[in-house]
Amino acid sequence: MVPAFSPEEITAIVLSVKVALVAAVASLPLGVACGWLLARREFPGKALFDALLLLPLVMPPVVTGYVLLIAFGNQGVLGQWLRETLGIQLAFRWTGAALACAVMGFPLMVRAIRLSIEATDRRLEAAAATLGAAPWRVFFTVTLPLAWPGLVAGAVLAFAKALGEFGATITFVSNIPGQTQTLSAAIYGLLQVPGGEAGIWRLTAVAFVISLLALLLSEWLVRRQRVLQER
């Protein structure tokens, strides 16, 4: 028995997955860079850097959304620059929702990536260096292949987080059906109207299943890394 989704619900689900996917994939390179920095390098201000990266996790999402609106809104400095030079508009567009989700998921992603890089054996990196591998080659031929399941796990976590993102997204890009109305926003919208219970249940079930699958996948990937590192 397949529950009958309304076209609006399907739109919200597809949009949510698209936004979350783009957010997770686009922020992965930066997440790897930050995770590697935190795992492998000592530098002044590292504690502050770490705290700033974690900030979206503990700050009220509405505040994060507001900061994004100030910076990337149509009147914002970065928003104006992006629109005039690259023709990219973020405010009230799905791309803006992806940015908000990426920012909110980033702490989770960096944490997972940092842990997986910390778990890779530095002695293997040292061995690679004595074999003539420059630092970038060590990273791409030793660190990355050994840590990749952890990196993907980080992206999957960010994806799951992005799927459930609500506060920052609705503050930054509002709740426009077909454009920025994600799963969470659609559920919230249905809560405001009488008779929306059936729709709420359907969307809740979808959110539950996707989140659970994402978590299982990320756990499997972390175990996969341990197997990969066994010697």
Binding site: R123, A127, G132, P135, R231
Partner: protein, 205 residues
């Protein structure tokens, strides 16, 4: 020709090490905690000495006064670790081919020769986790040699093996010593092993 005159410091641990050796195969011996591994790490560029100078065959690798500190990947120092440290995600052949000091043009040690010398031809497709301790150590020696090093460091390469495996590996080390004109620095705390492999002994106390 190996010339090491360095100051090592880590926390309260402080040590001045001076080695001047002209013999080709030198054993570095001394009680555990004497800093044997630290000396190897300093020569390989994995550990920065507080002060001093490291010169291998007239190449200055480290000179604190002159602010010279050649990075590990440009030192051409082969290193066989106590724990092999093969790359677990690569098979034996890929491990052997990983090193690339100096490029292929001036390759002194050829792949097939080293594989034959160490008797690892049958292992090439295997993953490191399917190797015995002695096999892994032979592959590690081959990997270090194929990186075309100017000096080979060996840090107790037999210590992780039982007596029988040690006996098996010693002839391979002797072949490496006799058939390749390569300077070697061999760390060990077993007198008998040292007698069978090294030409000169430097005691670290």
């Amino acid at each position: 020709m190996l010339s090491v005159d360095i100051e090592l410091r880590r926390g309260d641990y402080r040590r001045h090490v001076r080695i001047e050796e002209t013999a080709r195969v030198v054993a570095l011996v001394g009680p555990s905690g004497a800093g044997k591994t630290s000396v190897l790490n300093a020569i390989a560029g994995l550990l920065r000495p507080q002060a001093g100078r490291i010169v291998v065959d007239d190449r200055v690798l480290f000179d604190a006064a002159a602010r010279v500190d050649v990075p590990a990947h440009r030192r051409r120092i082969g290193y066989v670790f106590q724990d092999a440290r093969l790359f677990p995600h690569l098979d034996v052949a890929a491990n052997l081919r990983y090193g690339r000091h100096g490029g292929q043009a001036q390759a002194r040690f050829a792949f097939d020769d080293i594989v034959a010398l160490l008797g690892i031809g049958a292992l090439l497709q295997r993953r490191p986790r399917h190797l015995s301790g002695g096999e892994a150590q032979r592959v590690a020696i081959g990997r270090a040699l194929l990186s075309q090093p100017a000096l080979l460091l060996l840090d107790e390469p037999l210590s992780a093996l039982d007596a029988a495996r040690r006996e098996e590996l010693i002839p391979y080390l002797q072949r490496v010593r006799d058939e390749l004109a390569l300077p070697m620095l061999y760390v060990s705390h077993r007198e008998e092993e040292v007698r069978r492999i090294a030409e000169a002994v430097h005691v670290l106390d």
